[in-house]
């Protein structure tokens, strides 16, 4: 029997020891009339060989188009060593490291992860992970509400340059606690939020403000200026970041601090984001992990697990889960969050990824993304009918406006083997036929040229068909 080691003989012996006649007897406390019938809707079991063949077929029934999609999930190169080590049984099949002495592998690794993540974000403290970037944003907001003793408003400013699906997720999660998320519109020229717009939305008492860098459009926000203003107004700053880009962009722990007054409160108070770019494959959307960092002062408001370094009976260094009094298994209804299982294995991969890449590896990768995206944008915007939506600096994603229906263009590109970007028309109808394109270090110049050529052809074909249907129309009219 698959995965069941019992022989008939053993079963007989075990039943005898228990003192029952059959396995069925062990279920005699369950009311008989409620017992389940055979589960017809579940297919019969298959051998591994059969399932393997099925899964290979299904896996191939997904596109292999060249990926220029980003919008929160990014295709980066992952060194082979990363997942080969991560899926070693000792990491893969261990539980949460509650028995510290038997879990030093996982515990030390998480401590190293926390160290790397604080180094990358320039924040003081990192936890051991949240579910993903979107839910980490929600927890960051809850944390800010708990932490900001100077504010009683439960109002959070959220620019519309924050990933729309993150805003929706945050809403779902903080909603039950009467927290209000106030939208701040962006500047149509730059694709970023301005201090003026923020000020306009923040009449009265505001608890915190969310700032995404690079923002959903790939544009770079004026993080220093906004952070300083927020701190001057007792508003906590929640940075939402792409951690890979923090290898070259100013990290949240260093935002602001430019005015006399703000120097002491320099840096975002909380930083969150999705760890996916650091070693997690696209994998249809997950598992990724949410990163969550904060200033030292907020550590007791932090949700989730935290690993600390300590000593053993002999005074030797060792690692344990710490500050557990924040967590649900101790504090129950008064916990900082209900989170229990997190995304440990992905953090394992991410830690190994960062160790292998080093700061320089991350920097060169981020810079390559930037350069490649610039090249793509240059080539695409040289095509008639394609225009950059915003002036200013974008990182490795850019909004392009098309003189043809975005959906039609994207599906034309797909037919040519190009996953051309994210259609913005639902989330940002004001941008018209706009798409968000993304280029990582994985895309070669050849790939970029292929995209540009495909775009040219698709736009021409659409123009031609419009023309011919126009012509047909006018022919009819005649």
């Amino acid at each position: 029997m698959p995965f069941i080691p019992h022989t008939d003989q053993e079963v007989t012996l075990m039943l005898a020891r228990i003192g029952v006649d059959s396995i069925e007897d062990l279920f005699d406390e369950i009311p008989a009339h409620m017992r389940a019938a055979v589960m017809q809707a579940i297919p019969q079991g298959m051998s591994e060989m059969e399932v393997s063949r099925l899964m290979h077929q299904l896996a191939e029934n997904n596109t292999r188009a060249l990926c220029f999609l980003g919008a929160g999930a990014y295709q980066h190169h992952i060194p082979s060593a990363v997942w080969e080590i991560t899926t070693r049984g000792e990491f893969y099949s261990a539980y949460t490291p509650y028995q510290a002495e038997a879990s030093q592998g996982t515990l030390q690794l998480i401590y190293e992860y926390q160290s790397m993540m604080t180094a990358l974000t320039a924040m003081d403290v990192s936890n051991a992970s949240m579910y993903d970037g979107a839910s980490a944003l929600a927890e960051a907001i809850l944390m800010a509400v708990r932490a900001n003793r100077k504010s009683r408003s439960r109002k959070i400013l959220v620019p519309t340059t924050v990933n729309p699906v993150y805003r929706k997720t945050a809403h779902t999660i903080v909603n039950g606690q009467q927290i209000e998320l106030l939208e701040v519109p962006y500047d149509r020229a730059t694709g970023t939020v301005t201090l003026e717009q923020i000020k306009q939305q923040s009449e009265g008492d505001v608890t915190a403000l969310v700032l995404q860098q690079p923002n959903f459009f790939g544009c770079l926000e004026a993080v220093d200026e906004i952070t300083d203003w927020a701190h001057e107004n007792n508003i906590l700053v929640i940075a939402l970041i792409n951690p890979l880009t923090m290898s070259v962009l100013k990290p949240p722990g260093e935002w602001g601090g430019e005015t006399q007054q703000s120097r002491t409160s320099k840096g975002a108070d909380i930083a969150c984001g999705d760890g996916q770019p650091l070693g997690a494959p696209l994998s249809a959307g997950g598992p990724y992990y949410g990163l969550l960092c904060c200033k030292q002062a907020l550590v007791r408001q932090m949700p989730g697990r935290i690993v600390g370094r300590t000593v053993d009976l002999d005074g030797n260094e060792g690692f344990v889960l710490t500050l557990q009094a924040r967590e649900q298994h101790i504090r129950r209804s008064k916990a900082t969050s209900n989170i229990c299982t997190n995304q440990g294995l992905v953090v394992t991969a991410s830690t190994i990824y960062m160790a292998i890449m080093g700061a320089r590896g991350l920097e060169n990768t981020a810079a390559a993304c930037f350069a490649n995206n610039n090249l793509l944008v240059e080539k695409l915007s040289a095509i008639t009918g394609v225009n950059k939506a915003f002036a200013g600096t974008y990182f490795h994603e850019t909004v392009l406006q098309l003189e043809a229906p975005a959906a039609e263009v994207l599906s034309g590109l797909l037919e040519k083997g190009i996953l051309g970007g994210y259609n913005l028309s639902q989330d940002y109808p004001e941008l018209g036929n706009a798409i968000l394109v993304c280029t990582t270090e994985m895309r070669t110049e050849e790939d970029i040229n292929a995209y540009a050529e495909a775009m040219r052809q698709v736009l021409e074909a659409i123009a031609a068909s419009v023309y011919s249907s126009d012509a047909a129309m006018s022919a009819e009219t005649v």
Partner: protein, 482 residues
Amino acid sequence: MLIFEHSSPGRKGAPQAPAEKASLTAIPEKLLRRQSAALPEVSELQAVRHYTRLSQKNFSIDTQFYPLGSCTMKYNPRACNTLAMLPGFLNLHPLTPDLQSQGFLVCMYELQSMLCEATGMADFSLAPMAGAQGEFAGVAMIKAYHSSRGDTERREILVPDAAHGTNPATAVMCGFQVTEIPTLDNGDVDIVALEQAVGPQTAGLMLTNPSTLGVFERNIETIAKIVHQAGGLLYYDGANLNAILGKIRPGDMGFDVIHSNLHKTFSTPHGGGGPGSGAVGVAGRLKPFLPLPMVTKEDNGNYRYLTAQDCPQSIGRLSAFMGNPGVLLRAYVYMRLLGREGMVRVAEYATLNANYMMAEAKRRGFTLAIDDRRASHEFIITLKNEAHEYHVSAMDFAKRLLDLGYHAPTTYFPLLVPECLLIEPTETEAREALDGFLDALEQIRHEAETSPELLHAAPQTLPVKRLDEVRAAKQLDLAYNS
């Protein structure tokens, strides 16, 4: 030694990233980082060696018997890992149009359907990323349901005192107050107390069945009636579904909403703390409120994601994409390997192993927390006598077990039982492992009698001796060089 301590400035031994750094001068300088992040600088070999050796410091199912109660540490078939990591899945961008993701979507759709069948619920969403998020979704749906009926005064969630900590924590996160319901000595919910507690303020009751005491709640029908009659809904914490899979279905017991820890019953790995999946299922009346995304099959045979347009009453999204697809794929492969006949076997042999161990533990003179009942997939030993006689704690037993090559059972949970070990062998363990563990327990009791210092000083054979948790919490050291 930390990976940082292997670092040497300027070292770079990996052929991974582009060798050169492209220019970033187009970015305003004030937006750029001034100093490189202080990440370790090691060669690929150093990283591989460091993390390979670290891994060896873990106990895991692949290396030890791991009877951690309530955690269902069973074998995670390697095939599930291999097949979920096929390039066709790993390279799939979550925003790929549905028509280009059919191979993935069909897995998700069929997983939803199989979970419905396995639990007796009307519909399932795979969005929640762990049990606790499943609970969140469930309780949020309870709230949305009452709201949708204008029933806005139901501000309270009932939770038995034996419940897992996530239950009360979740209720609070959803904006509810929590009232605890006591448990009787025999492990059943105190019906009288429950009857007194319910009322027009009751939004619902969260119940784990079999409970964390390792017994099946025999009055489940009565409980369901009491809660439903008060206008509340019944929430099933599915962490212990492994015990009854194919034997009785939560839907048939009267539950309105459940979550299932796929990382327990459906054998996706725990990964040193996650990722998991807490898929949620509902009875018909809660269907409109399920979290997004979900996958539906269209008349033309194509699969597609349901959107907010399709489900205007949905509680919404819980994550940026589709929960944890890699975990969901592993659960899908697992269910296809086992099939309908394998599902039932899970509960049968998990229960056989637990009852065998319980009978043997009793025969060997250990005190059971609940003596005269069937164990479900797990059972509890209380060491209060040993603690009293030999001045050793359940924690000492646990640490000594590590020395003998067994992962310790869950200790001090459920909170109701003093000095307890919650033991869950799972169905994938052979009798040799169970007997070996019982022998070890006996040996330790003997040691407690004759040389208790062995227990106090345990573990001795692991990479570290007993660790100072108090110091860790007082002298916070949460990052290298911080």
